[in-house]
Amino acid sequence: MGSSVVNSVLTSKWTKVVVFLACLIPAGVLIWRVTQGDLTANPIEFLEHWTGDWTIRFLIITLCVTPLRKIVKMPQLIRFRRMLGLFAFFYACLHFSTWVGLDRFFNLADMWADVEKRKFITVGFAGFVLLIPLAVTSTKGWIRRLGGKKWQWLHRAIYISAILGVIHYAWLVKSDEHKPLQYAAMVGVLLLWRIGVWVRKKWQQQPVTRSVRPDEPTTAETA
């Protein structure tokens, strides 16, 4: 059957390797462009935009995992969620360090003034900082230590991070809001889907039965 092929592909460790390598393509293209000197007349700005764009894209891809596995009924997709989330963090780190190391050249006073004064930087900085605890607690050990429910609540911070990321972008551009609006629409749909699921669950749940139903995942699988 076709489904068993899909299943074996999804559960193969090689698929994980392929996805991992695919996630590195944007970084690879960037390195290639650095070696070719193909970074436009304003290389630092280019690096900031490139890494910023890919941070938001990976946040969106990560947020797609749960809806996708429910909609197409491929629960195995969960295997890739942590890796995708960590890649979002990886690109966020590149973005942040470009700003710190190249744009502001480690001028702490300058940077702090910006974080305080510039709304778009404040928001972007907050979105980045929020991702740090998520990256740190992304291991199995931390899921165990925190317990599924708590871990899941903590990791819902990615919703806020994604929203802040989009606002960060929208407040940066001068007039052409097409791209930030596209990202906003994607994040919006992905979050609305979750709200829809939550509302339906509340609706179906009888107020007396607060016990865990058999089909409800007990580990951190629904964030």
Partner: protein, 320 residues
């Protein structure tokens, strides 16, 4: 509409192959969306033969002008590939790609409003108003990057003298060329077009204010505002309007594009001022293209000696 586009078969530029392909894609796009009438117009334009997208030509007889900075000139390639020209797309690399086919010949600039007698100027007329000078100016974008460009042109005051404005003329309003057939990305720029700019009469008369027809020894590339633009070096770059088609002398402060788009962010004056921040970013420093470290931004972009007196007694925080 001024500067109506017509196919000009005498213009001898060779159109690169990629250009044809772009035109064809664009044509098919239009037809597919059912714009039969406008599609036909594109089709006939396309059939009319060589597109007259201009390639910069060498300018002869250019003399050394005043006010030149001795700072290092920005590489020409940076100035032609990193542009803000929203009619051709909002990405920095868009104009150099999308303006390739922009037709700048024939061209006409209308001089009107509070003048003795309105008139129209061809590019030949414009070239003859005064001797062409090379002016090496600093150019500071409101986005906090800057370049040093060897512009070619002459003081705009020469044109004002020719226009003979009436005593009622207190401001000059400028308008850029705009035609969505040539600038299909214009409606998506997020700003109202055609692009409008303006200067107070004394600013326009200042000898620094340049009517510009070239740079780096040649006529202007399309993405840099061909065939004729303004250069006002002590103001943020967006004041230096590109691809000029209308100069109107008026009684009161004219509307300007970025001020309409975001009045709290872009004022009518928009003088380079390191002490007044843009609401969303600092203007204290700038990145000169090609340099790693940001450098401090100078008051009036370093042209205070020439222009500070224009603003004595004015609160530059209010009149930003």
């Amino acid at each position: 509409m001024t500067a109506k586009q017509k196919s000009d078969l005498t213009y001898s530029d060779i159109t690169p192959k990629g250009t044809y392909t772009n035109r064809r894609n664009f044509l098919f796009g239009l037809l597919a969306t059912g714009g039969a009438v406008s599609g036909w117009r594109h089709f006939s334009n396309w059939m009319a033969g060589p597109a007259t997208g201009s390639v910069p030509q060498k300018l002869n007889g250019v003399v050394k002008g005043p006010f030149n900075t001795d700072e290092k000139i920005t590489p020409e390639n940076d100035v032609t590939t990193y542009n803000n020209f929203y009619e051709f797309g909002t990405g920095k690399g868009d104009p150099s790609q999308n303006a390739k086919n922009f037709r700048t010949s024939p061209w006409e600039v209308s001089v009107e409003g509070e003048v003795k007698k309105p008139f129209k100027l061809s590019m030949d007329d414009i070239m003859k108003i005064a001797p062409l000078e090379e002016r090496i100016y600093r150019h500071r974008c409101v986005e906090a990057w800057s370049i040093v460009v060897p512009w070619i042109g002459y003081s705009f005051s020469h044109l004002i003298q020719k226009a003979e404005p009436t005593p009622k003329a207190k401001y000059v309003a400028f308008q850029s060329y705009y035609d969505t057939r040539q600038m299909p990305l214009g409606p998506e720029a997020g700003i109202e077009l055609p692009y409008l700019e303006g200067l107070r009469m004394d600013e326009a008369m200042n000898p620094l204010t340049l009517l510009c027809v070239g740079m780096y020894g040649e006529t202007l590339p399309n993405q840099d505002g061909a065939p004729v633009r303004m250069v006002i070096p002590w103001k943020y770059g967006f004041k230096s309007i590109k691809s000029l088609v209308k100069i109107r002398f008026v009684k009161s402060e004219p509307p300007t594009t970025w001020n309409i788009a975001a009045p709290n962010e872009y004022g009518f004056y928009s003088n380079v001022n390191p002490n007044v921040d843009h609401p969303r970013w600092s203007q204290a420093k700038e990145r000169r293209l090609g340099e790693f470290f940001r450098r401090p931004t100078l008051m009036f972009n370093g042209y205070g000696e020439q222009v500070a007196s224009l603003y004595t007694g004015m609160d530059l925080r209010k009149n930003f």
